[in-house]
């Protein structure tokens, strides 16, 4: 079957047009509807996680004030907060949401290659969220094992939710992985096999590259989590000893013997570190497009950016045990993993330089998406540099399990990707709805969020240095802890509450603008990529005109090309012959 036969094949696909409300909005096979379903669910469950963080902050800022927060509840908040943020919000929103929305549009495809599987993927994800939230309704409540779920403690008496919560958590994770796999296979296959004429890999927008590599990482890393979840379920339910050594708990010798807790940690982080990049790479990609579009300048070093994404993806599989420096693992591993960890900083730094160089002498429009993009670069550098500290064994050992680590990972994988997600929503909302988001509300939202997160996380580095431990319900009268800590904790809490409440401005903006927003037209940002060239906004089911897919003639970054009338040239515009083909 020749390639030439492929495009007409795709062009001729009859999308099955839905009729009833149910097939249009609930069981839809349209990647755009599925994307929005993923997005709404993820943001919804993300708000739960945000509320939990507010409760934690209340306890930390004002200990002994809130009767309903006991240590058990605090552990449950931590666990649910961390897990929801990492998996059910960020992974689902960046890949299920943006991946679904952008891949077919940016590659010039009618839809995902298997829309039915794509639809099922969302509903299975939804199920996983239900099972997760059910944790709060089972006897004993959710597990309080921390988002890393380390055994033995995760399944032993003394940890909250040991009877049911841990089961719903592990079950929910397994279900989530099934959902992710169905979606992920679709994303990867669509990018590899269903692009339109002229769309080579090296002409794809970096958003698609980031999402692509992240999905590949997901398909290869989630198996490790899946396997560990199954084994821990077996340890818990039928008493196998995969992860459980001989142990005596509360004076009683348990039936476990011979298992290896270190095995769990290795499997968990074999998943866990790539997971960090599953969250980061789509953000890297999207922010590159935001910066280039709103700075009216081509991205600096496109090829280098692509290769950096690929290199980071590959390297992310051989750095996992930098999370285990204090675990008692093989003493030689520290050297090995510190080295690989520092190597991964090279492609990452390249990306940061290229973003900066893209901004250099550019025609910067300080739109809301651009503000978020710049905020991302600053925050990411901040979190990345503390990562270099923590990558060194000798520095990590005293800082491990302190607030320094909390500050680091919130900067680098919490706040930074969230900023990109906000920027991306302000950027693509017009395409999704045909309406612009309100600019004033956007600015308010941006400044409160950006400055607020600095007030929250900046002092945490200091807390870590003075020795405040992570995952502590209260510090009590610990002699080692400085008196400045109390005041700082109160400040952080106040800032966190303000930031949390101000997210309502954003939600309100989403709803308000949908009904009252300014019409956006097809291409409000004058962007080059394919999704802005659709014949309709929002694009119809099937994206392009019947029997006609767009043809791509150039890369995605022809901004401010000398000699061109407009300051952008869409990817669909034929080469005029004077410029070199890209």
């Amino acid at each position: 079957m020749a390639v030439e036969a492929q495009v007409p094949y795709q062009e001729a696909i009859e999308v099955h047009h839905p009729h009833s409300w149910i097939t249009k909005y609930w069981f839809s096979q349209d990647h755009k509807v599925i994307a929005i379903q993923y997005g709404i669910t993820a943001i919804g469950v993300g708000l739960v996680a945000l509320a939990l963080s507010a409760l934690m902050r209340l306890q930390l800022g004002f200990p002994d004030t809130f009767d309903f927060i006991d240590p058990e509840a605090y552990y449950q908040f931590i666990t649910m907060h961390g897990m929801i943020m990492v998996i059910y919000l960020l992974t689902a929103l960046l890949l299920g949401g943006f991946g679904n929305y952008l891949i077919p549009l940016m590659c010039g495809a009618r839809d995902m290659v298997f829309p039915f599987v794509n639809m099922i993927s969302y509903h299975v994800y939804f199920l996983s969220v239900i099972v997760l939230l059910a944790s709060y309704f089972v006897p004993g409540g959710p597990t309080g094992a921390g988002w890393t779920l380390y055994p033995p403690q995760a399944i032993l008496e003394g940890t909250p939710g040991v009877d049911w919560g841990i089961l719903t958590m592990l079950g929910s994770l397994a279900i989530f992985i099934v959902a992710f796999t169905m979606g992920g296979l679709n994303y990867v296959t669509t990018i590899l096999q269903a692009r339109t004429r002229g769309m080579t890999l090296m002409r794809m927008p970096l958003s698609v590259w980031g999402i692509f590599m992240a999905t590949v990482l997901g398909l290869l890393a989630f198996p490790a989590l899946f396997v560990s979840a199954i084994m821990m379920l077996l340890d818990k339910t039928i008493g196998t000893s995969f992860f459980m050594p001989a142990i005596s708990s509360i004076g009683e010798t348990l039936d476990y013997s011979g298992g290896s807790p270190l095995l769990f940690q290795h499997l968990f982080w074999f998943f866990g570190h790539p997971e960090v990049y599953i969250v980061a790479l789509p953000a890297f990609g999207i922010v590159s497009d935001l910066i280039s579009t709103h700075a009216r300048k081509n991205i600096f070093g496109y090829r280098m950016m692509v290769w950096a994404i690929v290199a980071i993806g590959v390297l992310s599989f051989i750095v996992w045990a930098h999370h285990m420096y204090v675990s008692g693992m093989h003493p030689w591993f520290g050297f090995f993993f510190a080295t690989t960890t520092l190597i991964i900083a090279v492609p990452t730094a390249i990306k940061v330089y290229n973003w900066t160089l893209t901004l250099w002498r550019a025609n910067i429009h300080l739109t809301v998406p651009m503000l978020f993009a710049i905020a991302f670069v600053i925050t990411f550098v901040m979190g990345g540099i503390t990562g270099l500290f923590l990558g060194n064994v000798i520095v990590d050992v005293p800082l491990s399990d302190t607030y320094f680590v909390v500050a680091h990972f919130h900067m680098v994988m919490g706040v930074a990707p969230i900023l990109v997600i906000f920027g991306a929503i302000y950027h693509w909302y017009p395409k999704m709805t045909g309406k612009m988001l309100n600019d004033t509300l956007g600015h308010i939202h941006f400044w409160v969020t950006f400055l607020g997160t600095y007030i929250i996380y900046y002092p945490m580095h200091y807390l870590g240095f003075v020795g405040v431990p992570r995952r502590y319900f209260a510090n009590g009268d610990m002699a080692i802890i400085d008196s400045s800590v109390e005041m700082l904790n109160q400040t952080i809490t106040v800032a966190a509450l303000i930031v949390g409440i101000f997210q309502a401005v954003f939600i309100w903006n989403l709803i308000y603008s949908y009904f009252r927003g300014k019409d956006s037209g097809h291409n409000p940002w004058k962007a080059t990529t394919l999704e802005w060239q659709t014949p309709e906004t929002p694009p119809r089911h099937g994206n392009w005109e019947d029997k006609k897919l767009p043809t791509v003639h150039r890369w995605a970054y022809d901004y401010s090309v000398p000699g061109e009338e407009d300051d952008f040239v869409p990817q669909t515009a034929p080469q005029t012959g004077s410029q070199p083909a890209t």
């Binding site: 796999t181 296979l185 269903a194 290869l220 198996p223």
Partner: protein
């Protein structure tokens, strides 16, 4: 498909640099199945790595699989007899599957469907023997997922988990084969072609492939 054999390394660059598709001429379903199998490889390898780890770290003796899995034949215990038969069956089913693919592409849907059914039956008999093996292990040898009289409790837990997960794959494959065989027989793929048989075959061969590793690492270690 063999146009550029002389310059293979360049061909690969061309393919990755092409528009529309990277895997030239590979149908979507087949590309997706390959990627799924890659992901599944990671699942099975994680299981096997976990097995390796618990086996290498245990300080209790590990039961000798050749003895545990021996069967009495004509009055003498033959080591791994049933396992040998199961291996043989799975390999044979891979052979019939490969022929089904061939028949499909020749558009001989009768033989293709028949060969798929034979494959499914062989698969079902494999699962049946596995059930027998499990029963014997549980009833006669007293092996349980949480312990056994012969040594390290991880012997039972890894055995049941890994062969169980593999057995689930085989069972799912039997259902998958049956459905596709039925549709092939009904002529459902006359228009769109018989790639589906090859795709089903990929899954089936993969199940066989996993067994090769289980055989070597679990039964022969």
């Amino acid at each position: 498909m063999a146009e550029a054999t002389g310059l293979r390394n360049l061909q690969v660059v061309d393919d990755w640099a092409a528009d529309v598709e990277v895997f030239r001429g590979v149908p979507w379903g087949k590309a997706m199945m390959w990627i799924f199998l890659l992901s599944d490889t990671f699942i099975f390898t994680c299981f096997l790595t976990a097995y390796m780890t618990v086996r290498m770290t245990t300080s209790e003796p590990w039961p000798n699989p050749s003895e545990v899995f021996a069967l009495e034949a004509f009055g003498v215990p033959v080591p791994l007899l049933l396992i040998a038969i199961m291996t043989f069956i799975l390999i044979t089913s891979s052979g019939t599957m490969a022929m089904a693919v061939n028949m499909g592409y020749r558009r001989r849907r009768g033989p293709a469907a028949l060969l798929m059914v034979i494959t499914a039956l062989l698969g079902a008999s494999f699962v049946g023997m596995q059930a027998f093996e499990w029963t014997k292990l549980i009833m006669d040898e007293g092996v349980r997922p949480w312990g056994n009289p012969m040594g390290a409790p991880q012997f039972g837990s890894t055995f049941f988990m890994i062969t169980g997960f593999h057995g689930l794959h085989v069972s799912a494959g039997v259902v998958y084969l049956a459905v596709v065989a039925w549709r092939v027989w009904r002529g459902r793929y006359e228009k769109q072609g018989y790639d589906i048989v090859e795709i089903t075959g990929l899954y089936w061969h993969f199940v066989d492939l996993v067994w090769v590793f289980i055989f070597a690492f679990f039964y022969l270690w």
